[in-house]
Amino acid sequence: MFPEAWEFHVAQHLNRGIKILIQNHSEGFDAFSNGLLQFLLGVQSALSTIPWWGYILLIALISWFSIRRIVPTIVLSLLPLLIGVFGFWDLAIETLAIVVVSVVISLVLGIPLGVIMAEVKSLGYVIRPILDAMQTMPSFVYLIPAMMLFGLGKVPAILATVIYALPPVIRLTCLGIELVPKPVQEAALAYGATRWQLLKEVRLPLAMPSIMAGVNQTTMMALSMVVIASMIGARGLGQEVLLAINRINVGRGFESGISIVIMAIVIDRITQGLAKKWDPVKKR
């Protein structure tokens, strides 16, 4: 038995802290929440103005230009039709909006953080454990305070998704920069590159494949959060899965599950294809 006298709880202090935060800074949180919501709504209405065949066309175009093979292009562009056939098209667009917004926020935060982590070695010792925590902490643990601060709905869902999806892009950006061959960097320095020039001309371009792998992973992680995020009111495809589970409706669960898988496959192949296209090291 662990000695009882040594027990010490931080729980009540954290609870009080959250309460004080809510009481004293509610306008701040509301403003932030509103801003984020406006952004999301903007993205969502933009995404819904594109007709269904527009998406098919877009996917076909992008996958043709990045993969350049006929069969995968046809399969990738026809797969999403199944989502529409199951009657989930609008929900899928809603989910897509949440994923897009979460990914954009993750990249805007994550790529610079990854760069800073690679540039300032000592920061890694601080950031790495935090990233580990973000990835292993059960999401419900931070869903609860996020809900208390921002209420039910899409805003806490996006925050939870960002927390979950942010680490890979930070890690892979940092790793990509660290793996840039030393001789190439040395040559740049020998010709009088400043630290900034070294980053811009050599380290970032050569880290691109790794950064794009990070973008791909972050997107996939964001998509895998949709079911959990729908528990706090994110709606979209995840909600269909939840409803099906609650009603023990296996068939409907299958349909909505498959729809999420299709989104995942299409997004994955497309981001991977684009990543290859953007690899600045040409073979010619």
Binding site: V184, E186, A187, A188, L189, R284
Partner: protein
């Protein structure tokens, strides 16, 4: 103006595993110096070097692998931080410069050619050559014109829009040389630039460097482990062993009078090579004669 291009005074470099890479020496602290000599963690790569390189001279540093040649050439422009001593290039005290001065110095006073080329794989040949000018802030059109001209000098103008990965080793090093020439600095630093190339190509590149030097009259600091190369290119040479210079002088003098066994071994190897080459040529000629004879019959 003095005629000294590079002046190295009491230069030391100690690599250390324990002290996170950076060692600052005090050569008067006898105890410290002794502890470094015996320590397993510290490697003395450059040991108390002092010498001068004259303007317009091709100065060779020769030594076996691990003798500290790369460390020395990197210390000259502080790609490796010296642990003690002074480097003065064209009157500038390199060892006393702050970051900004050093960057400026590297842009205008020196250019380096590397054994493994050090080309940027994401830029095409033209942009690789123009890289030094880009760092200086030269406008795009002007730097591309100059880069194209440098490519013509090394005979690669047709390859301007290819990427380094599609070039052979010899061509890549030509790009490396063009990149150094376009910056037109008074001093060229070359760290075993031809060591990775086939003997025939190496020979060709050496001839080309000789031809270029006849027009340029630059100061060239050239590192090699090949006595043949040293003898062909060098006006003067220093032989390095375990971080120290064991002999310094004209290549022919060193070839004739090696100062000790270490130097003598290089010379011996070289004499051996010459003998073998002679034999091979004789054998080839014999074979040819035979062929001609059999054709006749």
């Amino acid at each position: 103006m003095s005629d000294v291009a590079i002046e190295v005074k009491e230069l030391w470099k100690v690599y250390s595993k324990s002290k996170s890479g950076k060692v600052v020496l005090d050569v008067d602290d006898e105890e410290l110096m002794r502890s470094i000599e015996v320590s397993e963690e510290d490697v003395v790569a450059v040991r108390d070097l002092s010498f001068e390189v004259k303007k317009g001279e091709v100065f060779i540093v020769m030594g076996l692998s691990g003798s500290g040649k790369s460390t020395l050439i990197r210390c000259l422009i502080r790609l490796v931080e010296p642990s003690y001593g002074k480097v003065i290039i064209n009157g500038y005290d390199v060892t006393a410069m702050d970051k900004k001065e050093l960057t400026e110095f590297r842009r205008y006073q020196t250019a380096m050619v590397f054994q493994h080329y050090g080309l940027l794989p994401h830029k095409d040949v033209l942009d690789n050559v123009a890289f030094g000018l880009k760092l200086r802030g030269v406008p795009k059109k002007e730097r591309r014109e100059k880069a194209m001209h440098a490519l013509e000098v090394v005979g690669l103008e047709k390859w301007a829009n290819y990427y380094p990965s599609s070039l052979s080793g010899g061509m890549r090093q030509r790009v490396g040389i063009a990149r150094a020439l376009v910056a037109d600095p008074p001093i060229l630093l070359m760290d075993e630039p031809f060591s990775g190339l086939d003997p025939l190509i190496r020979r060709e590149m050496q001839d080309e460097l000789i031809r270029l030097q006849e027009e340029m009259h630059k100061t060239i600091f050239f590192v090699t482990h090949d006595l043949d190369e040293a003898m062909r290119l060098g006006d003067r040479m220093a032989v390095m062993r375990d971080g120290s210079i064991v002999q310094i002088g004209k290549p022919a003098e060193i070839f004739a009078n090696p100062a000790n066994d270490y130097v003598a071994r290089f010379v011996q190897d070289r004499r051996e090579e010459i003998r073998k080459a002679d034999e091979q040529i004789a054998a080839l000629n014999a074979a040819k004669d035979k062929e001609v004879n059999s054709d006749v019959s």
